[in-house]
Structures are given as C-alpha cells and as structure tokens.
C-alpha cells in the first residue's frame, strides 16, 4: 500500500474513525481513484506530447490554440469523444464488442499498479512484480483480438490477427530481455530490483549484455505496444484504423488512451529495470526522497521520447520483415545474451560502484 507521509496520515485517520474492514475498503477505493486519475491525466498528457513532438519532428507547430501552448487540446478532444454517439456495426457480436475496450484498459491499469513511482508511492509491491508485468501486458492483446473479431469487419479482423502474430512473437523478446537483467538482480520484485541498483544502475552493472538487452527491450516493447514502425495493427494506409475501425466515441478513446498508457508502462519498466527507477543519478538527491517521483518521471519521459522518435523516423515494416526481425535476429541474439550475462555474473565481472 502507498506509504507517502500524507497517505500515511490518511491511513491512520481512516483506521481511527472506522472499523478495520470498512477502513481498508475505503482505502482501496481511494487508491483506485488516485490511480484512475493518474491514468487519465497521463494518457491525455501523452497524447498531447505525442502530437507536439510529432509536429516538431515534421517541422510543424502542432496544436497550440486550445489553452496556453495547446495544453487543453486533448482535454477538449476527450470531452468531444464523450459526447459522441456510440455506433456499432450490424450483426456485430455485441457482448464481445462492448467488452473488448475494457480488457485493454483494465490490463493497462493493472500493470500501472505494480510500477514503483517512488520508494513509497507503490500501490502493489508483489514478489513476482516483473513476471506479473510481462503476463499482464500480454493480456491486452486479447482485447484487441476480441475487438477486431467482434466488429464484423474485415479490416478489423486483419488488424487483430496481425496484432496476435506480433504480440506472440515479440512477447518472447520482452520476456527474455528482462530475464537477462533478472540474472543480475536475482529477484523479480521491483522494489528489490531498485534496491540493488543503489550500487550502480543495471545498465552500468551489466555493461555490454545490459546494453544489448536494453536495445532489444526497446525494440520489442515498441512492437508490443503496436506503435510505428510496428503499427501494422492499425496501418492507416492499409486497414482504415485496424482493429478499432468500428469503434466510436468513448470506446475508441479507451483504446486510444490504453495505447498511450502502454507506451508509458513499457518506458517505465525500462526505466525501472535498466536506469534505476526513482533513484537519482549517483545518489545526488538521496537525502530528499520526495524527488523520487521526479527522477522516475524524467527517465520514463526520456524513454517515451525515444519511442516517439522511433515512430516519426522509421517506415512501417511488412509482416514478413517483422517476423524475420524477431525470429532471426532478436531471439537468437537474446538467447546468446542471456548466456553471456550468466557468464558475467558467474565470473563476477559486473561493475559495482
């Protein structure tokens, strides 16, 4: 549970005025509300950031009319989407069609709960944190498959099937590259992984194999979130909008937000596992633990920017190129990399400050 000083006071106060059972339920609801707020704000902010960054990459200006520097643009878009009619296709599988967006958004939220924002701001610190993240992030694809299948639209179905192919392939690389780092840490618990990095971030500790693992993780993470250059799931020029062609209004917005939150989650995992999460560089602000959130968000945003850089630089891959990249390049390199990392740890060649 969250143990920030403010929340600790709230925690004590709740348990003093209510019976224990009620108080713990109220606390859970409060935490859920906080995380939903983070979810919405982060999603809207990332959409805006993406649009501005894309504009700068393309020598444009981007949205700058609604609010100062266009800060309220995505808010206005969200309100517009809320007021729009929810349409659907004839003979769509109504139940699955309505269920699909929630699959996507709930898995994104569940993944968010495991991520340590700072030493105390960490809703759910389980001992299999990394494993949980890998497992949860692959459930999201079920939502995409359901959405594509139930829409009764050939483009949606093709998009969904491509998503299935892509996620099943790249899941391996995501898992194995994180496993490479687990060889060093010896723990799947995210708080412990960060604890170990107090003697140097893992990308330094593991040097060569860690850098390779990081590169593989960023590539396969980009593929996992279905972003360009791996956005064959949406592929505007081929499939309309891919799996969410038939969605409108708020259901479309759920898919859209979840995509951006997934990007945030992948970057957050990378920041936590490779770059020390909320730890400050060389421990310069170790005496001020409140700055942990700042460092965490700074590292995450830098990696988010890297993913945006990918998106606005590289052209989309073909399906066969995508599979070649995964099965002929990333996977064998990854397997060799794990052995290399194991050797490094065995011979005690890791760098510790």
């Amino acid at each position: 549970m969250m143990q920030l000083r403010i929340t600790e006071n709230v925690h004590n106060w709740l348990f003093s005025v209510m019976p224990e059972g009620v108080a713990s339920i109220v606390e859970m609801v409060l935490i859920a509300v906080v995380y939903l707020t983070i979810f919405a704000v982060a999603g809207l902010f990332l959409v805006l950031l993406e649009r501005r960054v894309a504009a700068w990459f393309q020598l444009r200006i981007g949205p700058n009319r609604v609010g100062p520097q266009g800060l309220l643009q995505t808010m206005a878009d969200a309100i517009k989407l809320l007021t729009k009619e929810l349409t659907g296709t004839e003979r769509a599988d109504k139940f699955l069609y309505n269920l699909a967006p929630y699959f996507v958004i709930i898995t994104a939220l569940m993944a968010l709960a495991v991520i340590p924002f700072s030493a105390e701001f960490h809703a759910f610190d389980i001992n299999i944190g990394l494993f949980f993240l890998i497992a949860i992030s692959s459930i999201g694809v079920i939502g995409i498959l359901l959405g594509g299948w139930s829409s009764n639209n050939k483009y949606s179905l093709i998009g969904a099937m491509r998503s299935g192919v892509q996620t099943i392939s790249y899941e391996l690389s995501v898992g194995l590259s994180l496993l490479t780092m687990v060889v060093i840490t010896g723990s799947l618990q995210l708080s412990e992984i960060i604890e170990i990095q107090k003697s140097g971030w893992l990308i330094l500790q593991g040097h060569i194999p860690a850098v390779i693992a990081f590169m593989i993780f960023m590539i396969s993470g980009t593929a996992e979130t279905n972003r360009a250059p791996f956005d064959m799931v949406e592929a505007e020029s081929e499939l309309g909008a891919g799996f969410h062609t038939e969605y409108s209004g708020m259901k479309f917005a759920y898919f859209f937000l979840a995509e951006f939150i997934n990007m945030f989650i992948i970057s957050a995992i990378a920041a936590t596992v490779f770059f020390g999460g909320w730890l400050s560089p060389f421990g310069i602000t170790e005496s001020i633990p409140e700055l942990g959130v700042f460092w965490f968000l700074l590292k995450t945003m830098a990696l988010v920017f890297l993913m945006m850089w990918f998106r606005w630089t590289f052209p989309r891959l073909r399906v066969d190129q995508l599979l070649t990249l995964e099965w002929k390049y990333l996977l064998p390199i990854n397997l060799v990399n794990i052995v290399l990392m194991a050797l490094l740890v065995w011979l005690n060649l890791t760098i510790r400050l």
Binding site: W56, F57, L59, R60, I61, W309, W312, T313, F314, Y329
Partner: protein, 158 residues
C-alpha cells in the same frame, strides 16, 4: 559473417535516420513550415509558382500585352476564357486591326490547368498568387481582366 555485418549495417542506417529527424526536431522552432493563416495575413506571401488565378498585368500607362489572338480561348478546355473583340483603326499604320474589348475570365470554372498561359504568344496573362477567392455571390468570380480604357502595349506584335 554477413549476418553480423547486416546487423551492423541495419543499426547504422537506423541511427542515420534518427539523426536526420533529430536535427529537424532541434531546429523545428526556426524552420517550421506551418503558416498560422489568419494571424499572419498581412505578412503571408504565396510562393511564385502558386496558381491562384489568371491575371493580366498592366504597366503604368495602363497598357497590356494582349493582342486578342484568342489562342487562350481555344486552348481552354472548359470555356473559362471569353474574349469580346472589335476592329479599330491602328494609329500608326491607319489600317483596321483586331483589338480586345473585354477579356472575360470565369474563375469559378477555371481548373488552374495553365494551358492558356502556356499558349499565350505574348505573355499577356500570368498566374496571380491571390488565394482568398471565397465570395458570397458567384457572379463576382466572373472578372474582366483588362482594365477599362487600357490599350495594347507598343511593339508587342513585332
């Protein structure tokens, strides 16, 4: 070994691409190509090759270069140009000579194909860069290009 050199080449080309877009990202503030249109209406200048409308330039003595040969009227695929002409006495030679009365241009029918301008033997008509052509009454889109009282420039036909 080509496996590893391919990986090396792949990473190198990807980084080259990223450096190009990265440079754009850094310099985008100076080099933004976006025109924030109604705000910069006073300073906005369209580029020279922009095809906004057909114009007929006149010089200071209110003279144009159109001889009324009607080549543009024939070249136009959709009847945008209509030339109403007349015969007048040429002052220099005293002979009867063709001259234009009204060069009528229907902007509403023009597809900006440029055939009239290509075919004009005396460069009498040119592309204008005006693009603000929305009006409430479409009859205002029918224009007479030669100014009232204008005459043919000397020496155009030589």
């Amino acid at each position: 070994m080509s496996y590893f050199s391919e990986i090396y080449k792949g990473i190198k080309t990807l980084l080259t691409g990223m450096s190009v877009t990265g440079k754009y990202f850094v310099t985008s503030r100076k080099g933004a190509i976006t025109q924030q249109y109604p705000d910069n209406r006073d300073t906005l200048k369209m580029f020279d090759r922009f095809r906004g409308e057909v114009i007929m330039p006149h010089n200071e003595e209110n003279e144009h270069r159109c001889t009324g040969c009607q080549k543009c009227e024939i070249a136009c695929p959709n009847g945008t140009i209509e030339i109403i002409w007349d015969r007048g006495i040429d002052e220099a030679t005293g002979k009867k000579k063709k001259k234009i009365d009204q060069f009528i241009y229907h902007l509403s029918m023009c597809t900006m194909c440029g055939l009239c301008i290509d075919v004009c033997p005396h460069d009498a008509i040119k592309w204008g860069q005006n693009f603000e052509n929305s009006v409430y009454d479409r009859s205002t889109l029918t224009r007479v290009l030669n100014k009232p009282g204008s005459t043919l420039m000397q020496g155009v036909e030589d």
